[in-house]
Symmetry: C2
Subunit: 138 residues, 2 copies
């Protein structure tokens, strides 16, 4: 399934050229042309889904089974100290292209990327209230 | 497989209590006690692997098939505008517990989390050199 005007669908079908690092029947992995670190890779399921929770479990299973291998190759190729795998869902979360994708971002100690982690504590009782709201949605 | 002194293995075996939102034979999902947004959830495979690329494809497939459902329930329960799914691998990438885990982070427009995205452009020719390094590692 390819969606008209979707940039990643156009990449998958070859209408827009990219620098590929891996491809099979399920996913295409290519270098982000606006990286936040060298080797920043995007892993895109070939089938169009907008968000992670839109995607059927069978396809996510196939994507999941490939993510480790691709991340391992990116990490080994870049000889980096670590990496983030990040999937932004919705504009509020930084998703700019509305076709499900995973960023693999090579990291090195002290590189200053994603330094901010504004953790806090829940007020008493709130964690249970929130968990109950989420549990109801399964 | 449970690893002595691993906090997440202790959580999986019930030695450390957590506020669960989902559990089956493959994964446990629970609320982070130091959230960066309300409903911040951790999804942990029950089997101990340190990093994504250490994990066998079969288990990653099983984890992947569950991630969408859990993310959907978190998003619906929190009525948020979007969410990030983030997997930090290695201390340089912010991994504090050395047991593979995925953060599901509910997001709302203008919440100011992960605002920094220090994108740049590759110098001419560098993208091909980097892709070749990665491709060699498959």
């Amino acid at each position: 399934m390819s969606v008209k005007d979707c940039v990643f669908c156009k990449i998958v079908t070859g209408q827009i050229p990219v620098t590929k690092v891996f491809e099979d029947d399920v996913v295409l992995a290519f270098l982000d042309i606006g990286p936040i670190s060298d080797g920043h890779t995007l892993v895109v399921p070939k089938q169009h889904f907008e968000k992670l929770h839109d995607c059927d479990a069978g396809l996510l299973s196939q994507v999941g089974s490939r993510l480790g291998k691709i991340a391992g190759a990116v990490a080994a190729g870049m000889s980096c100290d670590g990496y983030n795998v990040l999937c932004n869902n919705g504009r509020a979360a930084g998703q700019l292209v509305e076709h499900l994708h995973f960023h693999i971002i090579p990291r090195n100690l002290g590189d200053g990327i994603f330094e901010r982690w504004p953790a806090y504590k829940y007020k008493q009782g709130l964690i249970e209230t929130i968990a109950a709201k989420i549990r109801k949605k399964f």
